[in-house]
């Protein structure tokens, strides 16, 4: 019996102790009519050897394409030490640290993580993680409604240049509580969210405005002006940021005159593998004044009976297990393991490493942009400053191009044509520090070939 240690002797002794004749008798409170038959739809057991071979075959089928997709998940080098430690049994197989004294490792790690996120974002406090960046934005929007007591509208300004999946996810999650999202246009020439386009909302009751930096196109927004606009109009400001970029870019806590109110983002770039989309983690940071409105777990440093410092979960009165229907969120299990990986990652790369990673990613993308735009039939959608992504406009439909690139072992970018028909055919591509001169040349050549073939067809 896989993973069940009982010997026949054990079972006998245990049944005797209980005073029943069979295991089945233990289920005698279940009405007979409800009892299930055999699970014929489940295949027979495989040994670890067999499943290992099966999984290796399936993995081989997926292959290891040279990846130029970003669009919310970014390929960065992950130091080997990160996952060697993160998968240690004491980390990997521990539960949420409810028993603080028996979980100081996890708790101190969270405290260190909170400190790093707060510093990266230049905010005062951070929670212990949310599910991911997309749902994190939804949580931030819900939080803004609680935190902005002066606003009664539950109206959120959401630029169209924000990641479309984040927008959908916010709608799906926060829509149920009656939040309304107003789409703010981007400037078709720069790809930026122009403050001018907010003019129509002057005087309205706006709960919050969302600013993504860099935005979905990779373009850098004028975050200072947008932030100040929000605050001037009584709105809270929610920043969605790429954590790697914060090594180079002004952190949300310093945007505009006052800094933003809530900063969220996808933590994946910090040491978490792409892994088909998860598990990642969302980070969230805010001002101390809003800490009690923040969802998710928070760890604090305190003292023990002997007066020595230690760490424990705190402000639990915000949470579902205490406050139940009145909690700040229903989140319980979060993304502890990934948060741990990120903490180790940040410790290893440090401030210098993160800056170099960000710079190299930016430089590689500039190189990629130049190489791609030199290809016939390709041009940049916008000429604005960008971080590590660029939206290309092609002269043929993107789907066929991506297919052709795939057949050459390249994951060639994200087809943004569906999300932005006004820009179609549009291809969002990304390069990070993992890409070399040769990789970029290979991409440009393959792209030229694919476009040539598409045109010929």
């Amino acid at each position: 019996m896989a993973f069940i240690p009982h010997t026949p002797d054990d079972v006998r002794e245990m049944l005797d102790t209980i005073g029943v004749a069979s295991i089945d008798e233990l289920f005698d409170e279940i009405p007979a009519t409800l009892r299930a038959g055999p699970l014929t739809g489940i295949p027979p057991a495989m040994s670890e050897m067999q499943i290992g071979r099966l999984m290796s075959e399936r993995a081989a089928r997926d292959g290891r394409p040279l990846n130029f997709i970003g669009a919310g998940a970014y390929e960065h080098h992950i130091p080997a030490a990160v996952w060697a430690i993160t998968t240690r049994g004491e980390i990997y197989t521990a539960y949420t640290p409810y028993q603080a004294e028996a979980s100081q490792g996890t708790l101190q790690t969270i405290y260190e993580y909170q400190s790093m996120i707060a510093s990266l974002t230049a905010m005062e406090v951070s929670n212990a993680s949310l599910y991911d960046g997309a749902s994190g934005l939804a949580e931030a929007c819900l939080m803004s409604v609680r935190a902005n007591r002066r606003s009664k509208s539950s109206r959120i300004l959401m630029p169209r240049a924000v990641n479309p999946i984040y927008r959908k996810c916010s709608g799906a999650i926060a829509g149920n509580q009656g939040l309304r999202f107003e789409e703010v246009a981007f400037d078709p020439s720069t790809g930026q969210t122009a403050v001018e386009s907010l003019a129509g909302y002057e005087g309205d009751d706006i709960t919050a405005i969302v600013i993504q930096q860099p935005n979905f196109f990779g373009v850098l927004e004028d975050v200072d002006r947008l932030t100040d606009w929000g605050h001037a109009h009584g709105a809270l400001v929610i920043a969605v940021v790429n954590p790697t970029s914060l090594a180079l870019l002004k952190p949300p806590g310093e945007w505009g005159e006052k800094g933003v109110d809530i900063a969220v983002g996808e933590g994946q770039p910090l040491g978490v593998p792409l892994s088909s989309g998860g598990p990642y983690f969302g980070f969230m940071a805010t001002r101390m004044e809003h800490v009690r409105q923040m969802p998710g777990r928070i760890v604090g440093r305190t003292l023990d009976l002997d007066g020595r410092p230690g760490f424990t979960l705190t402000l639990q009165a915000r949470e579902q297990h205490i406050r139940r229907g009145k909690a700040t969120s229903n989140i319980c299990t979060n993304q502890g393991l990934l948060m741990t990986a990120a903490t180790i990652y940040l410790s290893i790369v440090g401030p210098e490493g993160l800056e170099r990673i960000a710079s190299a990613s930016m430089a590689r993308t500039a190189q990629l942009a130049a190489a791609a735009c030199a290809v016939d039939g390709v041009r940049a959608a916008f000429v604005s400053p960008r971080f590590h992504e660029i939206l290309l406009r092609l002269d043929t439909p993107v789907a066929a191009v991506l297919e052709a690139l795939a057949s050459r072992g390249i994951a060639g970018g994200y087809d943004a044509s569906g999300d932005y028909p006004e820009l179609a055919p549009a291809l969002l591509v990304c390069a990070t520090e993992t890409k070399t001169d040769e990789d970029i040349a290979r991409y440009a050549n393959a792209l030229a070939a694919a476009l040539g073939a598409a045109r010929a067809a």
Binding site: F3, P5, D10, T17, V20, E29, I30, A36, P43, A45, E48, S56, A59, G63, A73, P79, I85, G89, E90, Y92, T93, A94, E101, A102, S103, Q104, G105, T106, T109, A134, S135, K168, Q177, L220, L246, A247, K250, E254, G277, G278, P279, L303, L305, T312, H321, R324, G325, A327, N330, N334, Q335, L337, L338, I344, L346, S347, G353, R356, I357, P385
Partner: protein, 495 residues
């Protein structure tokens, strides 16, 4: 049994990583080539973030040492009720972490993901089979998000029928906190109903609150009281007849795997905690995976993406395929790596093994309960069988000796056992919710009973010993009140 066990390793207390930091230190092997980046001056960061500057060895040593301060399944018996802390097979981790799986971008063309997608498709099918449901979506990232998907689907269902007044979700008072929190998050009103002395839902109370405003009921079964709800049929009839739907909190699925199927029992929607029943690791607080299964009525509303299969292979079903979907709950398709682990686990356990899980989890819990009963401990529901877990109440010890469930819990740590869940469910006074899981050997259970007996003896002879516990851990009992009052949430350099 050794009441004051030897220390494992002598280690001075571990400073924070920031205390280890020195300006200018760095892990050179992890630095990419320096390249100039052309950031517009107005958008440039001015001061570097306060990240630690340590060597790779310092980081490795620090987090290795920190990890040793944790209890975990891999090091300790961990009978945390409602959490199903069973063995997390290492094979699941190894094969979910094959380089191709780790390296796959979520938006890569599906031709570059047929292996992965096949696993996901088959996982959906297997989850349908074990729950008796008609459709499954894997996207929710934990139990609570699965609940959210479920309640949102119930809401969408009523809305789609123009039935807009159904704004109430009924929740038994024993429910996990996420249930009422979820209902609120979905814009619903929470109606709590009590449980009776035997741990079943109070049908009369239900009868009173059910009606045309009822969107649905959220039921945990086995309930968090550690007993199987015996009035399923009546409950179902009452709620369905009133036009409401039935939500099954499947966090406790481990107890009934292969014994009953929520779909067969007439439930409309279920979320499963794959990180419990299907043994993906908890990672010190996640990640989880809260897949949802639905009956026929809710099929159109499943959260996207779902994995479909046609002649051309596997692909994601999205808005175009499921136009009534409640939408997207995550950036891609949830915690894929967790789903892979659950898939591998289910394939390793297989058809017969799946049935045994529920059986042996139940055997272990009932054995423990019987042992405790023989030793004179007090079950909260003495007339009932344990399911995969059960509750002891320490109320007499609290009343007579002033020794609480918390004191027992803390003292257990000194004995090398993780504590059971304490003070949940809230309605049982001084409760310990104990879930041994099927992967623990009889000797571990016996050792745990012996520890509890020894501690009870201590509680009579030297209550202060328990009040001061733990004594042998890296810290003594921590001051939670102080933590909340003097908020110290981030490290700051010494002034």
């Amino acid at each position: 049994m050794n009441p004051t066990p030897a220390s494992a390793i002598a280690a001075p207390r571990e400073p924070t990583i920031f205390d280890l930091s020195r300006s200018g230190r760095r892990a050179e092997a992890q630095m990419p080539q320096a390249m100039a980046a052309d950031v517009p001056p107005a958008l440039r960061r001015r001061r570097r973030p306060l990240l630690p500057e340590v060597s790779e060895l310092q980081a490795v040593r620090h987090y290795t040492r920190l990890s040793q301060l944790n209890f975990s399944i891999d090091t300790h018996f961990y009978p945390l009720g409602s959490c199903t802390m069973k063995y997390n097979p290492r094979g699941c981790n190894q094969y979910a972490m094959l380089p191709e799986f780790l390296g796959r971008h979520p938006l890569a063309p599906v031709v570059q993901g047929q292996g992965y997608l096949q696993c996901m498709y088959e996982l959906q099918e297997m989850l349908k089979e074990v729950t008796g449901m008609q459709g499954v979506s894997l996207t929710p990232m934990a139990g609570a998000q699965g609940e959210f998907a479920g309640v949102a689907m119930i809401r969408a269902y009523h809305h789609a029928r123009g039935d807009l007044d159904r704004t109430e979700i009924i929740v038994p008072e024993a429910a996990h906190g996420t249930n009422p929190a979820t209902a609120t998050m979905c814009g619903m009103k929470v109606i709590e109903i009590p449980c009776n002395a035997d741990g079943d839902c109070d049908i009369e109370s239900l009868r009173k609150v059910v009606g045309p405003r009822t969107a649905g009921i959220m039921l945990t079964n086995p309930s968090t009281l550690g007993v199987f709800e015996r009035h399923i049929a009546e409950l179902r009839a009452l709620v369905h007849d009133a036009g409401g739907l039935l939500y099954y909190d499947g966090a406790n699925l481990n107890a009934i795997l292969g014994k009953v199927r929520p779909g067969d029992m007439g439930f409309d929607v279920i979320h499963m905690n794959l990180h419990k029943t299907f043994s993906t690791p908890h990672g010190g607080g996640g990640p989880g995976a809260g897949a949802v299964g639905v009956g026929a009525r809710l099929l159109p509303f499943l959260p996207i993406p779902v994995v479909g299969c046609d002649a051309k292979g596997y692909r994601y079903l999205d808005e175009r395929d499921l136009p009534q979907s409640i939408g997207r709950l995550s950036g891609f398709m949830g915690n894929s790596g967790v789903l892979l682990r659950a898939y591998i686990y289910m394939r390793m356990v297989g058809r017969e093994g799946m049935q045994r899980i529920g059986e042996y989890a139940t055997l272990n819990a009932n054995y423990l309960l019987a042992r405790f009963r023989h030793e004179g401990f007090e079950p909260a529901y003495p007339t009932r069988r344990a399911t995969h877990e059960f509750i002891l109440t320490m109320k007499h010890s609290a009343r007579d000796l002033g020794v609480t469930a918390m004191d027992f819990a803390k003292r257990l740590l000194d004995f090398g056992y993780h504590a059971p869940t304490t003070y949940f469910p809230l309605l049982v006074p001084e409760c310990l919710l104990i879930e041994p899981t099927e992967t623990e050997a009889k000797e571990a259970l016996d050792g745990f009973v012996a520890a509890m007996v020894a501690i009870r003896k201590e509680s009579v002879e030297d209550a202060a010993l328990l009040k001061g516990a733990p004594h042998t851990l890296p810290v003594r009992r921590l001051d939670d009140v102080r933590a909340a009052k003097h908020l110290d949430l981030t490290w700051k350099p010494a002034a």
